[in-house]
């Protein structure tokens, strides 16, 4: 109990740095109940860490929404054409090899 109190004190009094280290697990809901309580208690008295948390979350949200180019049909066709050509070439080579060995 004394240990927990000390930990809480450390977080609430001086450790915004710790908060920034814990944010990742906090958002993944991976903090132990005790650490989570300390984390949230710190937030309740530290507007700087609230801002930090909000902007961190916003960054993740914006990153997730970055538009990515979808596979264009033309590129899909190019890739398939490439693969077919290679496969054909191997087929031809194997037929040649079989003929050669049989001869």
């Amino acid at each position: 109990m004394a240990k927990r109190k000390a930990a809480t004190k450390a977080l609430t009094n001086k450790s915004c740095r710790q908060i920034s280290d814990l944010v990742f697990d906090y958002l993944n809901e991976k903090l132990t109940p005790a650490t989570k309580r300390d984390f949230e208690q710190h937030l309740s008295i530290c507007p700087d860490c609230v801002s930090f948390l909000n902007t961190y979350k916003k960054t993740v949200a914006v990153t997730s929404s970055v538009k990515v180019e979808q596979l264009p049909p033309k590129v899909r066709e190019n890739i398939l054409a490439f693969l077919r050509k290679r496969i054909r070439r191997i087929g031809a080579f194997l037929i040649f090899l079989a003929t050669y060995l049989a001869a």
Binding site: S20, F24, P47
Partner: protein, 239 residues
């Protein structure tokens, strides 16, 4: 250098594989099923597809191609940036799949193998062609703290609600894309797999060969860097 380990290739002899593939009927089925959109198969359907591919079934090969190429393209495109490079990477990946299918053991998921091949090929390309020259020191954009653990610059501004007002959507996309491109290639891969593809840390670890804790550390630092970049663009301190 990055701690990323290149994937070790399967060992089956190339000729043996090719013969096996040929025996299953090589040429006929690749053509003509271009735009058929397939639903994602269940695990059972997928293992059936893999078994057929191992037996040299071209239809199965193309079914797997159509199932996964859109996703893998998206990932490679995000990491590499250029269409030509991305096309080359996806070609290489599926060529490898075709040749090495027989040595796919099935103790990992097909998707993990495919993502892993894609990440490897993309990072290999960047490394070989030294395409990543504009790397930025993260430090400048990470939060800073006083000795007593408080934020160095106070107050920390909460710009989470004003970001969308300040930038047009397009502009924000461009800004973030540019910031993503400044990440170390492996870090960028981790961000893409996590925040864009929605993979868990564990899945990312399997895909990249990193430990779960290394994935977390990289992802966290990369996010802090991106956050700092956004803050600076808004005219605030990254700290």
């Amino acid at each position: 250098m990055e701690t990323f380990e290149p994937m070790t290739g399967p060992t089956a002899s190339v000729e043996t594989e090719f013969v096996a593939v040929t025996a299953g009927g090589l040429e006929p089925t690749l053509r003509g099923r271009a735009s058929a959109r397939r639903k994602r198969p269940s695990g059972k359907d997928e293992s059936a597809l893999i078994e057929r591919l191992k037996a040299g079934d071209q239809e199965a090969f193309e079914a797997i191609f159509d199932l996964y190429s859109p996703k893998l393209y998206r990932v490679a495109q995000r990491i590499l940036g250029e269409v030509a490079d991305t096309q080359e990477v996806i070609q290489d990946v599926f060529w490898t799949v075709y040749r090495k299918a027989k040595s796919f053991r099935g103790n990992s998921q097909l998707s993990t193998w495919l993502y892993r091949l894609t990440i490897n090929a993309a990072l290999g390309k960047i490394r070989r062609e030294k395409k990543h020259s504009k790397e930025v020191e993260y430090e400048e954009y990470l939060p800073k703290f006083q000795e007593d653990g408080h934020h160095l610059v106070r107050p920390v501004v909460d710009w989470s609600d004003t970001l969308d007002e300040k930038f047009a959507k397009q502009e924000l996309q461009g800004l973030l894309s540019a910031a993503l491109d400044q990440l170390k290639p492996l870090d960028k891969s981790v961000v893409v797999l996590s925040d864009l593809e929605g993979m868990s840390d564990k899945e990312i670890a399997k895909t990249t060969g990193l430990t779960v804790s290394a994935v977390k550390t990289r992802l966290h630092r990369a996010r802090l860097f991106l956050r700092g970049k956004l803050a600076v663009h808004l005219g605030y301190s990254a700290a």
